[in-house]
Symmetry: C2
DNA sequence: GGGGAGAGATGCCGC
DNA sequence: GCGGCATTTCTCCCC
């Protein structure tokens, strides 16, 4: 396949390369994987990242960032920069091949993320409670990465924000911050608040067990699945 | 651009489509994003997944799984199946276009994952300790998803496996299982063991604070970065 | 379908 | 470089 010679030149020229090919793929490094023969899309980017896509699914099936890529016969070999990983693509047929110089100076701007939610709550503290007064945001202190720290009726309040449904790990995160804060600050009473659009039933129970508070809040302007209204605590105590 | 008419036909035919194009991309749904004009790779798969790649980086910049995709003039519009998300690509120029019927009946096989590590430890319990006797693996009981449950000198042992370096959340996971197990089983003494190739310093301190044990172990046959030998506990107590 | 947890997670930011 | 943490996380698996 003389097109593989062109591939060699394009690799040296750091071009953006796209191939539709029948191939098999094997990987060894942080784990091992093998993918038998089939039709795939192979992408080699300007920065020598290599990505393999199957005909379905949003995610790649194999990839390597910033690889050293070489061609040997009909085999493409990619090695990671630290030498501990290896991706091998055996090309059986090339259906389509194109290479280009691609120019893109833009980078994506994202909004509606957790940081934005934090800012919103910081600006609208009454979402937490009528008496809540925020003190600091993203407090990267030795107590941990507290999303929002504030006070309420003379007690410290630690707020943990989640833009999506909260689960067990999120409750534990809050608990860790509260415990550390208590210990290092030497205070007895610290109020823990989890604020999220929804929370899983087990996580809610866990949160209540720890004596923390849940505030339901969906960041405005985000189209998100509406969580079901949460059962009252009594239903947990009586039911099950 | 008459090629956009071909795109319409290919979409109806559920072909695999690859385009190199200058375009801008906006997304709205679980969050919002905007990406100004630049050269991009646009992939539309057999299952109507749509993916946008910039010229560098292993990850896509925008995507949508299983979308409803339509073309209006030079605009590609993808809507999520639940109607809550929208991806809009404004095409300014098409450099390259190809479409194909792609056939791939293979699926990837992966080894060297955590399950394999669990199996290995279960078969070689002396890795944990000379007296450790495993009882069950992946115990999805009401005590939680315990990786390995066993006994040692008449005490229950809960083992949490990590194939990569353990951090704070992993220690908390172990702690949660131990606490639940104690409470629901009504036993006082339960031994907690974290087994991983390495552990972060803060996580190690946290683990020691809780009174648990760390076992350094790298699954065999995996090329993984060698973690530095961990400092002795005394260094933590004396230092800082 | 919900929930928990792993992933070759990746990527970002702060120290 | 390490560490913690969010991610339009995605994916699998079990209940």
């Amino acid at each position: 396949m003389e097109i593989l010679e062109k591939l060699g030149r394009d690799l040296r020229d750091k071009k953006f390369i796209v191939m539709l090919a029948r191939c098999s793929v094997s990987y060894e490094g942080r784990a091992r994987s093998f993918l038998g023969t089939g039709d795939r899309l192979i992408i080699i980017k300007n920065d020598s990242s290599i990505i393999v896509h199957q005909p379905v699914g949003a995610m790649h099936v194999n990839y390597m960032k910033n690889a050293y890529i070489s061609v040997n016969g009909s085999t493409i070999i990619a090695r990671s920069s630290d030498g501990r990983e290896r991706l091998i693509i055996e090309i059986e047929d090339i259906y389509d091949y194109s290479s280009r110089r691609m120019i893109d100076n833009e980078s994506i701007t994202l909004s509606g993320d957790e940081r934005e939610m934090q800012e919103y709550i910081y600006e609208h503290p009454d979402i937490i409670s009528r008496d809540f007064k925020p003190l600091s945001r993203e407090a990267i202190t030795r107590y941990g990465y507290i999303d929002i720290l504030g006070v309420e009726q003379g007690s410290y309040v630690i707020v943990e924000c989640k833009r999506i449904k909260a689960g067990m790990p999120e409750v534990e995160q809050l608990h860790r911050y509260v415990e550390r804060f208590k210990k290092e600050k030497g205070v007895e009473r610290v109020i823990g608040v989890m604020i999220a659009p929804s929370i899983s039933d087990p996580a809610y129970r866990y949160l209540m067990d720890k004596g923390y508070r849940f505030v339901r809040f969906s960041p405005p302007g985000i189209l998100r699945k509406q969580g079901k209204r949460h059962k009252d605590l009594n239903q947990f105590l009586n039911g099950n």
